[in-house]
Amino acid sequence: MLKISNLEAAIGEKQILRGINLEVRPGEVHAIMGPNGSGKSTLASVLAGREDYEVLGGQVDFLGQDLLELAPEERAGLGLFLAFQYPVEIPGVSNTNFLKAAVNSVRKYRGQEPMDAVGFLKMMKDKMKLVNIDQSLLSRSLNEGFSGGEKKRNEIFQMAMLEPKLAILDETDSGLDIDALRIVANGVNTLKSADNAILLITHYQRLLDYIVPDFVHVLYKGRIVKSGTKELALELEEKGYDWVKQEAEALA
């Protein structure tokens, strides 16, 4: 589904990704962990098409297409979804109107007819339950004045509405209390299927108690320096990152 080969990227003069290799197949959950500044969020941004980053080299194939050649909206249309680390507040754009525009845009890319109002409202009602989101939030401006937890739940709600093939969750768990974390994780687990895949970018092992990954990767200085199964996350939790860093430095 997703194949990243030797991906290098920079912001301004500063190179952050130094040759990422990663393959994600349908039905898989991958977790990417790593110390601060290792390039986790940069990877998410480059995959979603944020223009501040310059791709210096490498390839990304997503469902048979050269992902790096596509505009952000085309990537979304193809089935890529980024749950933002910091969801943007947009005063004056109602949550509902935004969702309708997004759902119908994505349907258009997929060659589907736009949804009618009744169908859209029904879909919204169904998906709202998934993340326990309140109707009143949806009639407000997008993310405006939402609490941290509400914003993150809203990201997962959008994911549910857009039904992506690959969802990248960029530190969706950071800053959540345990109740909100459970709601978010439960939403993600419900959306998980044999046809889609999830890339979890996280700082904390705790999330992986709730969303169990098939693979765990450690990102350090712009490279994946270690990969393993969920036990690796527990080991990191216990021992910290120093031993991985030392291993990586020794190899370099």
Binding site: F84, G92, N97, S105
Partner: protein, 435 residues
């Protein structure tokens, strides 16, 4: 064809005033004398420094009303539903009774052309007309005050809530030659009454530009509420110079929303005198401009009494080579303690050639007040744009959504839905021109 007698604007205006001299009243005669002493403003005048009026004042104008081209005018009058509204129509400053209608109960409110009110309600007219719009050294306002200009007259009796808005359509039809139109509106809202007054300025498309010279006075009585919109959507070669002056008595609310969509040179002077305590004044403005349109908004709120609040919010979406000006004045007089006065102007430049000049001017003589002002001009924010695109929304649609969102808090002030929907439709069409 410009002739010697019409190429000089002031000479032309003086000649025309001389023709009217026999029928002038004292007020008009006094204004004519002041006008005769004033020079047309140039960019050397601080108040006019953003406007180059030479071309406007150098061209010839037809003064006698032309035969209106109804085929072109009619569509401008029926752009939104008005079944539940009072409608007054003026074409080139002339009242068009066959296109106007009054639906409100005359026991609640009088709606008629000012010329008729001068005859029928001379006391009300005398008590208010010319009492608020001080022309001082304002060249165009002095000329307007000297002229026997017609326009809308609205008189709401005390303790009346007028459910039906009063919509005045002003159409300049310059299909034969450039037309100079003088308009004069007077709205008097009695104690504890409430109404909505909507001015809508349009012009027929033509090779000739026209010039509208407007003075509007609004007297908001004690505990009254006036919702007032000024909608400008004149042709790209038509110009408009307007002075709008409101006067508020104690416990009153005056909400002004000024929407500027098109024109060549548009000057809006909006003044409010808050002459009583516990008043609320809103001055909301939106410019959505393209081409070479220049819109110059000058606001001035004068807090004369304590415990009142004023809010100015002016926003602009500027494309092409358009120019927006916001000059906002706040005066807080020594007696006006506990005043809250806020001012904000925000603009988004959609092209490299569009410009905005913003200038706040606060003069505060009272010491226990809260006043603030803020001005920001920039391009559309990248982060929200990326967020929308990352959800599949195409670039152009995402831009349009954000521009609409930007305009939303001003548009939300248009509580009469047919007008709001109409303006939103115009803006949506305008934003689509972007791609």
């Amino acid at each position: 064809m410009p002739t010697a007698e019409t190429t000089d604007f002031k000479q032309m205006a003086l000649a025309r005033l001389a023709d009217q001299a026999a029928s002038q009243n004292d007020q008009q005669r006094a204004a004519a004398q002041v006008f005769a002493r004033l020079d047309a403003p140039t960019r050397k005048h601080e108040e006019w420094k953003y406007l180059d009026l030479r071309q406007l004042l150098g061209q010839s104008y037809q003064l006698a009303p032309a035969q209106p081209q109804w085929a072109a005018i009619d569509p401008l009058l029926h752009q939104y539903a008005e079944d539940q509204a009072n409608v007054l129509v003026f074409v080139n400053g002339q009242y068009a009774p066959e296109h106007s209608r009054v639906v409100s109960n005359p026991a609640q409110v009088v709606v008629c052309p000012l010329a008729e009110a001068r005859q029928k309600y001379p006391d009300v007219v005398a008590a208010h007309l010319g009492q608020y719009a001080q022309y001082g050294d304002h060249f165009f306002a002095a000329l307007n005050s000297a002229w026997a200009a017609n326009g809308a007259f609205v008189w709401v009796k005390p303790n009346q809530t007028v459910a039906e808005p009063i919509i005045a359509h002003y159409v300049t039809d310059s299909s034969e030659a450039s037309t100079l139109v003088h308009l004069r509106n007077l709205v008097v809202v009695g104690t504890s009454s409430q109404c909505t007054f909507i001015e809508h300025y349009n012009s027929t498309p033509s090779a000739f530009g026209g010039l509208t010279n407007l003075v509007a006075e609004l007297a908001v009585g004690a505990n009254a509420h006036l919702d007032h919109y000024k909608i400008q959507d004149e042709a790209a070669n038509a110009s408009h110079i307007g002075l709008t002056q409101a006067h508020q008595q104690a416990d009153s609310r005056y909400y002004n929303t000024t929407i500027s969509l098109s024109g060549q040179i548009v000057r809006n002077n909006l003044g409010i005198s808050i002459d009583g305590s516990n008043c609320e004044a809103y001055m909301n403005g939106l410019m959505v401009l393209t081409g070479q349109t220049l819109v110059d908004n000058h606001t001035a709120v004068d807090h004369l009494k304590p415990h009142s609040q004023s809010n100015q919010l002016y926003k602009g979406l500027l494309d092409g080579r358009s120019t927006g000006v916001f000059n906002g004045k706040i005066y807080v007089r020594p007696d006006a303690q506990k005043t809250n006065a806020y001012q904000s102007s925000k603009n988004i430049l959609l092209s490299d050639s569009a410009t905005v000049d913003a200038k706040p001017q606060l003069e505060i003589w009272a010491d226990d007040v809260k006043c603030s002002h803020g001005h920001a001009t920039g391009a559309l924010d990248e982060e929200p744009l990326f967020y929308l695109r990352a959800r599949g929304i195409a670039l152009e649609q995402a831009r349009a959504m954000l521009m609409f969102a930007f305009a939303d808090d001003v548009l939300a002030r248009l509580s009469y839905a047919p007008v709001r929907d109409h303006i939103e439709k115009i803006i949506a069409e305008r934003l689509r021109w972007q791609d």
